[in-house]
Symmetry: C2
């Protein structure tokens, strides 16, 4: 494996989609990030084309054929190779096995909550809590609907996401409470030592 492009976090999702069957890059992009998907993701289309090229160079995927509909640009369809399947399994195993410390926006921002002052902090956190409650309600509904259509294994990702959002809400609510009751002292200026 050479080339830092293959460290891209999109590698697993792309190989994963090709597990379902051969696809052309535009189709891969559409399923990952196209219209209808959550707009907060917004995977760049050109990035998908770039990565597909890199995956083909590595022989993890290979040209499966070309299809042309009418006079539109020729679509190049790619399929997972056995080497690509192995690589996907290797990465999945590694990523499930090993926890990595990651830095979501909120974690970083929480570290500097002192800079806002207690009132502004409570205001922002209260709005977050409301947004989290709304998302939980929405996701619960979507998940319940999905469970009626497919086996539990295929909604496991949504189940995990929901569990973590619920847990975040518990913490946020408690932080608001701690600030409000003065249980969380607010040193001068809020600067970190």
């Amino acid at each position: 494996m050479s080339g830092r492009a293959l460290d891209n976090p999109l590698v697993v999702p792309i190989l994963g989609l090709l597990l379902e069957g051969p696809k052309h890059p535009y189709e891969v992009w559409r399923e990952l990030a196209g219209p209808g998907r959550d707009p907060t993701v917004a995977v760049n289309r050109a990035s998908v084309y770039d990565l597909v090229k890199a995956l083909a160079a590595e022989n993890w995927i290979a040209v499966h054929g070309t299809a042309r509909a009418g006079n539109r640009p020729t679509r190049t369809v790619y399929a997972l190779t056995p080497a690509g399947h192995d690589e996907l399994v290797r990465r999945l195993d590694e990523q499930l096995r090993t926890p990595r410390r990651e830095f979501p926006q909120f974690l970083t921002a929480v570290g500097y909550v002192g800079a806002l002052g207690p009132e502004a902090a409570v205001a922002a956190l209260t709005e977050r809590a409301a947004a989290l409650r709304a998302r939980i309600a929405e996701d619960e509904a979507r998940l319940a609907a999905a469970r009626r259509r497919v086996p539990e294994l295929f909604v496991i990702e949504a189940d995990y996401a929901l569990h973590m959002v619920r847990s975040e809400l518990v913490w946020v609510d408690d932080l608001i409470r701690r600030i409000r009751t003065g249980g969380l002292a607010w040193p001068e200026s809020g600067d970190r030592p």
Copy 2:
């Protein structure tokens, strides 16, 4: 605000560090990612220099002076400007207020756990659970020690991180149990529909 470089997630941490006082880029890098820090982060040093240049062009930070020790390269020290302070507060407020859907490695990998088969999945998840327990013990000790030295507000980030890791462990343990007891059916091939 122009230039996509300013969307970089490092912007808040860098402005945040300059809140403590003027610093030169190497010092910023050292506090973010240098030796002694968690090696899983590994912020690239050149990226810090690039971003500092972009932040200065935007007038969010400004040259505060240059210091020279012996015959070594001159260090250019930067300080936060009032505009930079405003921008930091604006971003913190926005990031605390608005939950974003993010995609940690584990979330993506969980979605394709079916591709591993139940035995391999249990093996990988069991190792993850053990690693999570070890991390929790370590972080609890570190946090308890930190609490003896600084006010609670300054360890709030670690408190949040610990809460979320504990919550992940609960879910992982339960997933292992569900697979083991057969409560989670494993459709042929594990491919997603």
